[in-house]
């Protein structure tokens, strides 16, 4: 018998039907994959759930799974808010995502190879040269350099959203040093500890095999002539916001976690200093940005890099994962060319949607943009950090007229995209002590090696914890959820 004042977890759930809800369909019925889970959770009282939630939080804190927000004056360690209600992705749906992200990562890899070799895509007139020359992440030192196996982006983080049409769209490709994978694994662990019973009802893929696959990928790109490679993870140090992840990955791969000062280059070979002398290092998973890798080649004042590392890399004596210079391909401007890039190198149609981009430099696009500003986001192509962006449905008539004027003055400078809406997922909100709809995205992790590819079956579902907010970054107060991929 339940007490009469029993309050279900979902009793005050307010579904906005204009948003795509991952759990409820348009008629507010629970979607099939969530039914069992929904029944279990809805059977709990709020009080029990609050208890459980507090325990999970304490567990994260005690394990030191925290991050720092840099611009915070006190630079406090915070735990990444974790939600005990998992997100479920059906096996069929996942199969498409997996194919789609692999296709994208391979196309990006081919693009980077081309940019640092013959530049055929530019010569074919498909991507403007200015986009590459003006990119701060274009490293001319990488010209005509052939990384082992031809792989540049060994590790990619692809950010996806589900729009109100129920389809996945790629928002961003992260192929420099994408982070977040350790949270995926710890979210799973935390959920297993708190609610192990729920796992009995679903057949889901593991996420704890990430590290072994990462190590295999690293070993697959070992330098020529090396039999059993020595791999390391290099970190900027304990003050880096992702230090927890660096140490987690090194530990679970069973390899050394090093800083720049632990390494030395001699005669173009890389060594790590150990108590028994120098030990040659063959593959480095570097969590240091390009500019800081080697003060003799890049930023002179980098104290976290290794002098001479780039020459060792260039000579093929050590492999860097990811390769330097990948950032040229993950910028906002290149993103808009992804459908062309996929077609050019793979001869395929994109499996995952790109948010459609209208280039105001093209007359037909310009006409469409001018007629549909109220439904579009207009962005300048060359500004970062959200400057100069106009969101059509929030503008007054007078403002729309102003935006039109500005575009017409210099059409080349503007692109426009449809206004995207992120799907929502029931999320426990501490302040209200109930479940509410919150916007979510999904970061997937893809590994490319020599004759090997791997997509982590799961991912980081990030949640915008402020009501109505679309920004899911942890630095902006975002949280996360365990993400279940069901076996087919």
């Amino acid at each position: 018998m339940k007490p009469t004042n029993f309050k279900h977890l979902f009793s005050s759930y307010d579904g906005n039907e204009n948003l795509f809800d991952e759990i409820f369909d348009k008629k507010q019925n629970v979607r099939k994959v969530y039914q069992k889970l929904f029944d279990i959770y809805n059977d709990q009282s709020i009080e029990d759930f609050i208890n459980l939630n507090n325990k999970a939080k304490t567990s994260f804190f005690n394990q030191g799974i925290t991050f720092q927000v840099y611009n915070d004056e006190k630079a406090q360690e915070k735990i990444f808010p974790f939600d005990l209600f998992p997100r479920i992705i059906d096996g069929e749906e996942w199969a498409t995502i997996e194919k789609g992200v692999i296709q994208r990562c391979k196309a990006l890899n081919a693009f980077i190879w081309d940019i640092y070799h013959d530049k055929n895509i530019i010569k074919a007139g498909l991507v403007p040269m200015e986009l590459i020359s003006s990119s701060a992440n274009y490293l001319r030192q990488m010209d005509n350099l052939d990384p082992v196996g031809g792989i540049y982006n060994h590790i990619s983080g692809t950010d996806l959203i589900k729009h109100s049409d129920g389809k996945y769209y790629v928002l961003e490709d992260n192929i420099r040093c994408p982070s977040g994978v350790s949270y995926v694994i710890y979210n799973r662990n935390a959920l297993k500890r708190s609610l192990f019973g729920v796992f009995n009802h679903y057949d889901i893929h593991t996420v704890t095999d990430y590290s072994e696959n990462l190590l295999e990928i690293m070993e697959s790109v070992k330098p020529k002539g090396v039999d059993v490679p020595t791999c390391v993870v290099i970190t900027p140090g304990v003050f880096n916001s992702a230090y927890f992840e660096h140490s987690y990955l090194a530990k679970t791969m069973g390899i050394e976690l090093v800083e720049g000062r632990d390494l030395v280059v001699e005669n173009d070979f890389l060594y790590m200093k150990t108590i028994s002398g120098l030990k040659k290092v063959d593959v480095v998973y570097r969590r240091i940005d390009d500019g800081f890798l080697d003060p003799l080649e890049f930023k002179k004042d980098s104290a976290i890099g290794v002098p001479g590392l780039f020459s060792a890399y260039k000579n093929g004596n050590v492999t860097l994962v990811n390769a330097p210079g990948t950032g040229v391909a993950d910028d906002k401007a290149i993103y808009t060319y992804m459908p062309e890039i996929i077609k050019f190198y793979l001869g395929e149609k994109p499996i995952l949607n790109n948010v459609h981009t209208y280039h105001c430099s093209r007359p037909t696009d310009l006409k469409f943009v001018l007629e549909n500003i109220h439904n579009l986001v207009v962005k300048p192509v060359d500004e970062a950090g959200g400057y100069g962006i106009s969101i059509g449905n929030r503008l007054t008539k007078a403002e729309i007229a102003d935006v039109k004027k500005v575009i017409l003055q210099n059409p080349r400078k503007y692109i426009a995209q449809p206004i995207m809406s992120l799907s929502v997922h029931a999320t426990y909100i501490e302040d209200c002590q109930s479940f509410e709809q919150r916007h979510v995205d999904l970061r997937t992790f893809t590994l490319l090696g020599q004759d090997k590819e791997f997509v982590l079956k799961g991912g980081l579902t990030r949640v915008a914890l402020k009501k109505g907010n679309l920004i899911v970054n942890s630095s902006q107060g975002g949280g996360s959820k365990d993400t279940w991929v069901l076996k087919k």
Binding site: K123, M129, L139, E266, N267, P295, L296, K300, S311, N315
Partner: protein, 282 residues
């Protein structure tokens, strides 16, 4: 044929001991169609070992990593090199003036020479100066570049000493004086805004015949002239590069080819001296 001996030396003293340091010299002449490096020898104080490597732009570097404390470090490099006479350059008679300008408008050309067509921090012209020197399309590109060489030479007065190599063009144009790198940065900047690829060259100048130059390393430029190839120009002396110019490396500007990069943790007073000697027998 000219047989050169080049000696590069540097002596550095520090008030307090330096515990660890890295030195990367880029002073070794390259071997190319007009010069042939016969031998090179290097020496450094305190039994420090010398390593050779290739930098990100494929030029030879010489490295020292000191691991014991020192107050004084000397480094010496001696090169023997053969240099051939460079014949006078005239426009390729098989191509018309129009062919020149057509060639630089081709997309493949713009892509292949991209690195030497865009402004860098040190070759960025202030807005007011962009139209300082415009090429006359009625003349061959070669003739325009020769005029540019003279124009830069006339505009800037050579003044060694006080300045550094990483002066912005805004300052150079205001002062109208500078060292060889300033001449070259201005020269390259103007060639590039006129859509002609130009690169910074670092090397040695044999100071015969009353040329400007100094006892340190020298800079000149190379311009890619369609249907001719890369041609050396020395705006600091208003001549084309000849057998007196011994090339070490090239880049987009000075920052791509400084003769020395140092990483060290030193405090207190310090003094560095550099000297270059270039001698030849014909």
């Amino acid at each position: 044929m000219f047989n050169y001996t080049i000696k590069y030396t540097t002596e550095n003293t520090y008030e307090n001991p330096v515990f660890e340091s890295y030195w990367q010299f880029m002073v070794t002449p390259e071997t190319n169609s007009s010069q042939d490096l016969i031998s090179s020898s290097y020496s450094v104080s305190d039994d420090n070992s010398i390593e050779k490597s290739i930098n990100g732009y494929n030029f030879e570097t010489t490295r020292i990593h000191t691991k014991k404390p020192f107050n004084n470090l000397t480094f010496e490099a001696i090169f023997k090199l053969n240099k051939s006479e460079i014949s006078p350059i005239e426009p390729n008679p098989e191509f018309t003036v129009e062919d020149d300008y057509k060639a630089i408008e081709v997309l493949d050309f713009k892509v292949d020479f991209e690195a030497f067509l865009n402004a860098t921090e040190l070759t960025a012209l202030p807005k007011v100066a962009v139209k300082l020197f415009e090429f006359e399309t009625s003349k061959h590109i070669l003739d325009n570049v020769k005029q540019l060489n003279t124009w830069v030479y006339d505009l800037i007065t050579f003044k060694a000493g006080e300045t550094t190599e990483d002066m912005l063009l805004e300052t150079v144009l205001e002062k109208k004086e500078g060292v060889s790198s300033d001449f070259v940065h201005l020269f390259c900047a103007i060639a590039r805004v006129n859509k002609v690829p130009a690169r910074y060259v670092s090397g040695y100048l044999h100071q015969g015949d009353g040329f400007f130059g100094d006892s340190e390393m020298y800079a000149w430029a190379e311009v890619y002239i369609p249907n001719l190839g890369w041609i050396g120009f020395d705006p600091g002396n208003n001549i084309l590069a000849d057998h007196n110019h011994i090339k070490v490396a090239h880049g987009r500007d000075y920052k791509d080819c400084p003769p020395l990069k140092q990483i060290m943790y030193a405090y207190g007073e310090q003094e560095s001296k550099f000297a270059v000697e270039v001698n030849y027998e014909q």
